[in-house]
């Protein structure tokens, strides 16, 4: 089993996309998940529903709407052009944006659950020990929510690696920019190049298995009693 240069390029691109997307999702997802876990606002329901929507819609449908809205005639496209960013479809940045939207619930929901499970008490204790809310977040919430962050990272990363429909729609299959592994495998399959498809698919499965295993392995379950 050997991988072609194009296959290797697709793998590198995929890992880059998944890493950047996961990192950004953790940064963006944290305040969102925190708000969802703590708020009593009547907007909580609607916002939670919007976050979960990517679970409902078929990926190609999400991709199609992103293509429309981020295109030159869509509001998103007009915004990115006005900001001097150009158009996002058919670019790596566009894939990142699409992946963030697509994988959002896979990061936000584990974080939200982790935050909700902590309850008020650790926050109150930290406040009585002179810790400001931000201080509390970094010194208490973050370490206590570690299992949630692990789950969010694993799911966000894996889901982005496995993403296909959305990428297909707004990627344009440009080598080195938007031709990720899932698309490359699909191309092999569609072109009936089954041997190459198997090789690439197997290497992705093995690699992902190793990454996930390592992540779970290096996260010993910490004691939760106190």
């Amino acid at each position: 089993m050997e991988l072609s240069a194009a296959d290797l390029a697709a793998i590198r691109l995929t890992l880059e996309l998944a890493s950047i997307t996961t990192l950004l999702l953790l940064v963006l997802g944290t305040p969102l998940a925190w708000w969802l876990a703590r708020t009593r606002s009547r907007w909580k329901g609607p916002v939670a529903a919007v976050v979960a929507l990517p679970l409902v819609l078929p990926p190609t449908v999400i991709g199609f709407y992103l293509l429309v809205s981020l295109g030159p005639n869509g509001y998103g496209g007009q915004l990115t052009q006005a900001l001097g960013l150009g158009l996002l479809p058919f670019t790596f940045a566009g894939l990142v944006v699409a992946s963030i939207i697509y994988s959002l619930p896979f990061v936000v929901q584990p974080l939200q659950n982790a935050f909700a499970a902590l309850g008020d008490r650790p926050l109150e204790v930290a406040a009585t020990l002179r810790a400001s809310p931000l201080d509390t977040f970094f010194t208490v919430i973050l370490p206590l929510a570690r299992p949630g962050y692990l789950t969010a990272t694993v799911l966000g990363f894996a889901h982005t690696v496995g993403e296909f429909g959305v990428v297909l729609m707004i990627g344009g299959n440009i080598p080195g920019q938007t031709r990720v592994v899932s698309v490359q495998i699909y191309d092999h399959v569609e072109a009936m190049e089954y041997a190459q498809a198997h090789g690439l698919a197997l290497s992705m499965v093995v690699f992902s298995f190793l990454v996930l295993w390592a992540l779970y392995h290096f996260n010993p379950q910490g004691g939760r009693r106190g």
Partner: protein
């Protein structure tokens, strides 16, 4: 069975529960609209029932090889039916060309593409869409056109590839690519280009985009499959096919 065939369709409908059969057909996605229309007419005329599944030809090929319950395939190309035939998965001698696709260079903006396609040489665009030439006959034809015009290499950096002709059309229709090679059937309505601007690519610039149909081995004894194959080659169906921008 000559007897029912001699009688009026009314009699045929009365006896439908006994005579009518059902056929499951895998249809190339680009042929969705004409096939729906043809099927309506076919069911009305013959009493047979048709189950249609639309999708990518490559996917259908993989499914058929793995025992998918289709009795007939309307492919987007001529290679796949031939391949199935070589593999002994079809009813021998049932293969025929049901439509020949026409390629257009199209833009959603009116006046963008001129009648001779010189816009390709002027090159004032950022992205040009075409279907993945490895997967889609229209993509392959588009590459042949560009090669014939000597533009394949210069334009390659601006390619965005759709996995199929439908996606390619979406790239162009949403304006994300200024122009692209799509199927005439996608932009034509009642004999005219619906919106935007187009260059009808001369047939001599690429090998014909033949779309072949074949009855699968599983449809051997299916009267509806035989009837549909015959119907598709009849004048009534061909008129519909032409109206949708295909040649035949």
């Amino acid at each position: 069975m000559p007897f029912p065939r001699l009688l009026a369709p009314l009699l045929l409908m009365l006896s439908m529960s006994v005579q009518a059969e059902e056929v499951s057909v895998a249809v190339a996605a680009n042929f969705t609209a004409p096939m729906q229309k043809i099927t309506t007419e076919f069911e009305k005329d013959t009493g047979h029932k048709v189950q249609l599944a639309f999708g990518a030809t490559g996917k259908f090929y993989a499914q058929i090889r793995n025992g998918a319950p289709f009795q007939m395939l309307l492919s987007a190309d001529d290679e796949t039916p031939a391949k199935l035939e070589r593999e002994g998965l079809t009813l021998a001698g049932s293969r025929f060309t049901y439509a020949v696709g026409s390629l257009v260079l199209w833009s959603a903006q009116p006046g963008y593409v001129d009648a001779d396609g010189t816009v390709l040489r002027q090159g004032g665009f950022k992205k040009i869409a075409l279907a993945n030439p490895r997967l889609a006959p229209y993509g392959k034809a588009a590459m042949e056109v560009l090669a014939a015009l000597g533009l394949a290499d210069t334009l390659a950096p601006r390619f965005v590839q759709g996995e199929n002709i439908t996606q390619t059309f979406q790239f162009v229709s949403t304006g994300n690519a200024e122009l692209g090679f799509v199927a005439l059937s996608q932009v034509m309505q009642e004999g005219r280009i619906r919106t935007g601007s187009a260059w009808r690519v001369p047939d001599r610039l690429h090998t014909p985009i033949r779309q072949d149909a074949v009855i699968l081995a599983t449809g051997r004894d299916n009267a509806a499959a035989t009837a549909l194959a015959r119907y598709l080659q009849g004048e009534k169906a061909r008129a519909i096919i032409r109206a949708f921008g295909y040649q035949i």
